[in-house]
Amino acid sequence: MKSVILDISRSLNGKLNSLLIKLLIFTAMVMFSYLPPAVAEDDIPDYFVPPPPFSEDIFPCSECHADIVPDETRRELDFHEDIVLKHAEEQRWCLDCHNPNDRDKLRSASGQLISFEESYYLCGQCHGTIFRDWKAGVHGKRTGMWNGKKQYRLCVHCHNPHQPRFKPLAPLPPPVRPEDMKYTKSTSGEVPKNPLNSIIKSERKHAK
């Protein structure tokens, strides 16, 4: 008998406790207007995505922004002058994507906080069809194994988020026209280099 009463009181206690905890969480959420972070969608393949391509010494943003009061007005910036917004700039300003309170995060239109490592959730809220194609491996560059581990890239690896249009590239040299081909003896003359190698080298230098 005693044990039954004990059990009931325990379970009542448990229920009360869980209710209390829920209440606490709810009030906390209301107070800090906290929303759960973006839940990883199941259809994002578990492939390796390299870290975001930050400019040198720019991250974490909070290093400077922790002491700056967020200013949402559209204005000439005194810092980040290198950033020119050409991405639906008439409808958008910095804090529509960057989270005002914790600048190390991005923020979707619904208020979800998104890390820079998962910035595709931010881009995907407007570019839904592209996001779908990207997840399927059809939009964007894939490298690695066709039947194994594939390397994905973030949207920002190819598109500057502030000016997403793909930048024109210098083409590699055109093929030699048949009329310009000359017969050379196989032992004479310099063999031309593959022009790709110099480009890869300069890109590597640029990346460093």
Partner: protein
């Protein structure tokens, strides 16, 4: 009387049959490389057709080739002869709406597949079209020699063309020596030791995808790729035909890398995968995008799909 004098004039009598026999033997012996005492020349001369060789015969051919290449290029080659993966049929997708015509694919292919730098051979040709021109089957107004400072050029679009890996390849039909054939994974290959250089296949190919080694291929030693496949990127001889093999030396592995042109493309316009796998990227393209194949009216049934992602 005149008969007798005729017989006297001849030093030896010879009848028609033995004359023909002798001529045939004599001419036949001319084809045998007597001048060279090299054993490997003899082995090459009596090499069997690739598909008729058993594993040990193939291995000895590969060892012989590795020795030949080592002597000729002063480098150690690793020649593979990996067979097709069961349940795989390769397909390729190219997004015409994304290609910017930068030709990175052309030279990545040259690098990976040991194409001759001089005389120049490119397996990929990137065509530039003016917007509004007739185009899909008509290439007369296109150019592959465009050379602006930056691409894409205003008012133009680009379409790279390489071997379309036809399901019904006309090049294979015309080969008189069966030196080119279609493998089970759908790749059409050439055995450079079997090709006699008649170039019938080049005439038969409606895509201009086959190329002929008019001279001995020349490559800078530093740029030679020594990881090669017997049916793919191993160094070619003068007088043989070559073509794209979907990077057989990379893709026929498990796991296998993407072809070099897919890997280099800066805009991600090139897609590659297994047509028999419903989850593959290429199947997604075919099922969800607007797709066309080149010169479909010729019934070659290419496994190279051009598509528009936007």
């Amino acid at each position: 009387m005149p008969n007798k004098s005729n017989k006297d004039n001849c030093a030896r009598t010879i009848n028609r049959r033995s004359f023909l026999k002798g001529t045939a033997l004599g001419l036949g012996s001319l084809a045998v490389p007597f001048g060279t005492s090299d054993a490997s020349t003899w082995e090459a001369f009596f090499q069997k057709h690739f598909k008729e060789m058993n594993e040990s015969e193939l291995q000895s051919v590969i060892t012989r080739l590795e020795e030949e290449y080592a002597r000729e290029y002063d480098m150690n080659f690793n020649i593979k002869a990996t067979g097709p993966i069961p349940g795989v049929k390769f397909g390729y997708g190219l997004d015409v709406s994304r290609c910017i015509g930068c030709r990175r694919c052309v030279y990545a292919c040259v690098q990976e597949n040991n194409q001759s730098r001089e005389p120049q051979i490119h397996w990929i040709s990137v065509l530039e079209f003016e917007k509004g021109e007739k185009w899909v089957n008509i290439f007369e107004e296109a150019t592959k020699y465009y050379n602006p400072h930056a691409v894409p050029e205003e008012g133009h679009f680009y379409m790279p063309i390489q071997c379309q890996q036809c399901e019904n390849p006309p090049c294979v039909k015309v080969c008189p020596t069966k030196a080119t054939w279609q493998e089970r994974d759908g790749i059409t290959v050439v055995d450079y030791n079997w090709c006699i250089g008649c170039r019938y296949c080049m005439a038969a190919c409606p895509y201009g995808a086959r190329h002929f080694n008019w001279a001995k291929p020349r490559i800078k030693k530093k740029e030679i790729n020594t990881e090669v496949h017997y049916l793919g990127n191993r160094p070619r001889y003068k007088g043989v035909v070559e073509k794209c093999t979907f990077c057989i030396q990379r893709t026929r592995e498990n796991p296998g890398r993407y072809p070099a042109c897919v890997e280099i493309c800066p805009v991600g316009a090139r897609k590659f995968g297994n047509l028999l796998d419903p989850e593959s990227e290429i199947r997604y393209c075919i099922e969800h995008k607007r797709v066309f194949r080149l010169k479909e009216d010729l019934n070659t049934s290419p496994k190279f799909y051009y598509f528009f992602a936007t």
